[in-house]
């Protein structure tokens, strides 16, 4: 027997308290001197003895109470003969097979399958067993049972995925699963134990509910591997980063494929990081498929190719809803949006009353030069557009100032006047720089505002800019799935000089990125990542995976929020607004096949066992297993408390009656 926290035994000194109290109580009992006990009844002596005995029992119970508390805190345990694989003890055995990309290394996965089958065979008959496999998530291969045949069949079904393994996440998942299993839980971990799969904190790989970790290392030796680390777009073309692992020098060819055609081949003659520059690439309009392929006989073939998408889009159209096709707003906004080097836009004026509002559904975002100018029909159309995920940047011109209630938003005019009186100007003062639109813009304080549309700010509004007189200047409101940015001013020189200030261009470009969602869209992902469908379109669509299969079921086409990119290659995303190409690549960390050190593995094994109070041995060795006693102590403690209460109550009852 031992104690996990022996310092708490100092608390046992507290038993001095009841002893002292009982001593006082004994001394203060109704004791009197008498000349001689010669003639006293001896039976009365027994009565006293009984009382004294009761007193001693009460004292003993109280001492036991304190001792139990001290012992419980000290966490005593008993060493029980161990339950080992060969001993056939009860408990649960989990066979966990690593199915991450690195396990696709030549011959490694076959070895893992063989080891897993052997582990199943070695478990004593009748022992509960479950097969699990892990990549970026934990998967259940078979149900918990003692049926070895079922487990062997499940093992044969295992396949390597294109996903990355993180031991920290894997052990956390095992821990959650083991919570419901009969203890002790023995984990047989079959893996190549990649060093890159270890989390930053060692403690994350130590499962608390696993009694024993038995590691099975597969794929030993000195692996050699080439992999593509990245593909970057440059002004001249593409840069391709390559990485070679291992000491052997191998010659490899690197092919660059553009839209399925090999456009260039390079030779590699040495390991280590290499960057290749590809220039003069002729992209087609739209999304271009870039594929980098390494032709080599290295140990891991899965990471010998890389997928990338290069956009070669014409300027995107953005509708500007206006009353005047040739007005200043068209000029100002066109100039600002076409100056964007990254994503140019073409402003497409839509004159109110001359276009079908249904065309708005084609655009991710739209512009409106005077929110007060729209009619009721367009009001409904814009509201529906916003509800369905469309985005709108609206200005407030002279017609908005003359309205009592703004369309779309329902804002009412406040008591403030449109003008500030005389030649007075106001400048933006309170600017919410945490907002994506305003984070990169500077120079708002140089803007002079002579008039504004005074509205009553509503609870759903987020005021992004206020003027010096505290009147709102720019507000944002979410309407359904869409966003509305409302500038409470028009693009009119008589109202302000904003379009003439540099801040206007940056504001419009940032707003375009924000409302179009282009800033949030990435074209390249690693396998295992999720692609949020809301970013690529606000309407239902379909996704085709690299194998040409549709990912979404018919029901999911309208309700799926995201898809998992679990295969390397190109995913085609089709929505009512756009078609998009997304590339998924194997996580480059899987390419480093360096195994963790034996010392670290031993420490992992020891730490897992030590959590349960024992020192782990090798698979099959006999080690004592501790049985913690504190919960039994608590049970006994509860019994002692009850007994003490009853006895104490019995003892005190006559005194209470006497006092009454």
């Amino acid at each position: 027997m031992g104690f996990l926290a022996p310092l708490f035994l100092v608390g046992a000194l507290a038993i001095a308290l009841p002893i002292w109290l009982h001593r006082l109580q004994t001394q203060s009992s109704d004791r009197q001197s008498f000349s001689s006990a010669m003639l006293l009844e001896t039976t009365e002596e027994r009565v006293h003895l009984q009382k004294k005995l009761k007193y001693l029992v009460l004292l003993a119970l109280r001492i036991a109470l304190l001792l139990m508390i001290a012992l419980a805190f000290a966490k005593p345990f008993l060493n029980r003969p161990p339950t080992s694989l060969t001993a056939g003890a009860a408990g649960t055995h989990l066979i966990l097979v690593d199915t991450s990309v690195s396990m696709s290394r030549a011959g490694v996965f076959d070895q893992a399958i063989a080891v897993a089958s052997q582990a199943v065979d070695d478990v004593p008959p009748g022992t509960l067993l479950q097969l699990l496999n892990v990549d970026d998530a934990l998967h259940i291969g078979s149900s918990l049972s003692a049926d070895k045949a079922a487990h062997r069949a499940a093992i044969s079904e295992l396949k390597v995925s294109a996903l990355r393994l993180d031991f920290g996440r894997a052990m956390a998942a095992v821990d959650r699963l083991a919570e419901s299993f009969p203890p002790p839980v023995t984990l047989h971990l079959i893996s190549d134990f990649q060093g890159s799969a270890m989390p930053v904190r060692f403690a994350d790989v130590v499962p608390s509910r696993v009694t024993r970790l038995i590691p099975y290392v597969v794929g030993t030796g000195s692996p050699f591997n080439w992999s593509v680390k990245y593909v970057r777009e440059t002004a001249e073309g593409l840069d391709v980063g390559l990485m070679g692992f291992g000491d052997r020098e191998r010659v490899a060819d690197v092919e660059l494929l553009l839209n399925g055609e090999v456009v260039e081949t390079r030779g590699l003659s040495e390991t280590g990081p290499v960057t290749l520059h590809f220039t003069n690439l002729q992209y087609e309009q739209g999304d271009n498929r870039i594929q980098v392929r390494i032709n080599t006989d290295d140990d891991l073939a899965a990471d010998n190719q890389w997928f990338h998408v290069v956009e070669n889009e014409p300027p995107a159209s953005v509708p500007l809803i206006t009353l005047n096709r040739g007005g200043l707003p068209v000029t100002y906004l066109s100039a600002a949006l076409e100056s964007d080097a990254g994503q140019s836009y073409h402003v497409e004026p839509l004159v109110i009353g001359e276009f079908d509002a249904r065309v708005l559904g084609r655009y991710r975002w739209a512009l409106l030069d005077d929110i007060g100018a729209i009619d009721e029909e367009l009001d409904h159309a814009l509201t529906a557009y916003l509800q369905n995920g469309g985005n709108l940047l609206a200005f407030s011109g002279i017609r908005a100032a003359n309205s009592s209630v703004l369309p779309v938003t329902g804002h009412r005019m406040s008591a403030a006047t449109v003008g500030f009186g005389g030649n007075e100007f106001q400048s933006p003062e309170q600017i919410d720089t945490s907002h994506p639109v305003l984070a990169q813009t500077e120079g708002w304080h140089t803007v002079n505002v002579s008039r504004t549309v005074p509205i009553e700010v509503q609870a759903a509004d987020q005021v992004l800019i206020r003027l010096e007189n505290k009147q709102p200047f720019l507000i944002e409101r979410r309407i359904g799935a869409g966003r509305l940015l409302l500038l409470l001013n028009g693009l009119d020189n008589r109202w302000n000089d904003l379009p003439l200030r540099p801040v206007f261009v940056s504001f419009i470009i940032e707003t375009a990125g924000y409302l179009s969602g282009i800033n949030e869209i990435s074209k390249t992902y690693t396998t295992g990542a999720s692609l949020p469908l809301s970013l690529v379109g606000n309407a239902s669509g379909q996704v085709v995976d690299p194998d040409g299969n549709t990912v979404l079921s018919l029901a999911d086409t309208t309700r799926a929020q995201q898809i998992n990119l679990d295969k390397p290659g190109f995913y085609e995303v089709y929505t009512s607004q756009d078609n998009m190409l997304v590339a998924a690549n194997i996580d480059p960390r899987e390419s480093d096949l360096t195994r963790i050190s034996q010392e670290l593995l031993d420490r992992w094994q020891d730490a897992t066992a030590r959590l349960d109070g024992i020192v782990a041995g090798q698979p099959g060795t006999v080690e004592p297993e501790p049985v913690e006693l504190w919960h039994w102590l608590l049970f006994i403690l509860a019994m002692v408390v009850i007994a003490e209460s009853m006895l104490g109550n019995t003892y005190l009852a006559p005194l209470a009656r006497a006092n009454r």
Binding site: S29, D30, S33, S35, S36, A37, H48, K51
Partner: protein, 301 residues
């Protein structure tokens, strides 16, 4: 000047005597008070009571020559009184721990001291030789019998200095007493006699065989004779330290019977050897004890 009768009777109350620090004064007050009451009594005489004549012999005190007889007969006769017949009183005072019980106002030991002092004073007044021995398990103090006037103060001091200490034994002190005293006389044993009657007999019987006239003053407190306890109480023996919890019902009903039986057994044992047994309650006046003593003395003549 003698005190008035009522004042003298007050002096016999133990609580009054407890206020007197000087045992000599206590003894004097008790005896004087007792004698005043006794003169009124038609029953008892005292030492001046005539007993007999005998021929004057050389050495006799000439003050006791009856000159009237000499006038009528021409011969000298000595007039002898009752008090002159016994001239030897030995007081054995038990100073064991159990004698420390009792009170207020006085413990059994203090009452025994009053009694012993009074007896000593009374005996000395009758020209008896008086001695004392203080004992518990051993002989603590001993004063040989003497009739010399100055000896009384020493005896009173010996009695006064007795303190309740340890247990009681009668055999060992009494053996030593027999070794010290060769003359016959009166032996007054003052004790609570918490012992078996047989044990007491074993100690006292040799004295009787030795020719001593023994009177046993058994001093008990009222709480011993009629204990009053409202609740269960843990009683601790003063001599052995043994503690016994007793119920009030037992102390009310069974215990008085037991103490009565014990007293009776002691009285019977005393009678069996010709000794006298006098039960003294510490709440009683001292004259009753003295009266018993005189009766006993008178019977011994």
């Amino acid at each position: 000047m003698l005190p008035s009768q009522s004042t003298a009777r007050d002096l016999l109350h133990p609580e009054v005597l407890a206020g007197l620090k000087n045992l000599d004064l206590v003894a004097r007050s008790v005896v004087e008070g007792f004698l005043i009451g006794l003169h009124r009594s038609p029953t008892f005489g005292f030492s001046q009571e005539f007993a007999e004549y005998r021929a004057y012999a050389e050495g006799d005190d000439p003050r006791f020559i009856d000159w009237n007889v000499y006038a009528r007969t021409g011969k000298t006769y000595i007039k002898r009184f009752l008090g002159d017949t016994n001239s030897h009183l030995m007081i054995l005072l038990d100073a064991s721990a159990s004698m420390g019980f009792g009170g207020p106002p006085v413990s059994k030991l203090r009452y025994g001291q009053f009694l012993a002092a009074s007896l000593s004073f009374l005996a000395a007044r009758q020209h008896d030789a008086v001695g004392c021995m203080i004992f518990d398990e051993e002989v603590r103090d001993y004063r040989a019998p003497s009739s010399r006037a100055g000896k009384l103060q020493g005896i009173l001091h010996c009695i006064d200095s007795a303190e309740a200490a340890v247990g009681t034994r009668f055999d060992k002190p009494f053996d030593k007493f027999r070794e010290q005293v060769s003359r016959r006389g009166l032996v007054a044993v003052i004790s609570d006699f918490y012992c078996d009657a047989e044990d007491l007999l074993a100690g006292v019987r040799p004295l009787a065989w030795h020719g001593q006239d023994v009177v046993l003053f058994q001093v008990l407190d009222q709480q011993e004779l009629d204990p009053q306890f409202g609740n269960n109480v843990l009683l601790e023996d003063l001599e052995t330290g043994k503690a016994i919890e007793v119920a009030p019902q037992f102390m009310r009903e069974a215990y008085p019977k037991r103490i009565r039986a014990h007293i009776d057994s002691l009285a019977a044992a005393a009678a069996s050897i010709g000794a006298d047994h006098v039960l003294v309650n510490t709440s009683d006046l001292l004259d009753e004890a003295l009266r018993n003593y005189l009766l006993f003395r008178q019977r011994r003549k």
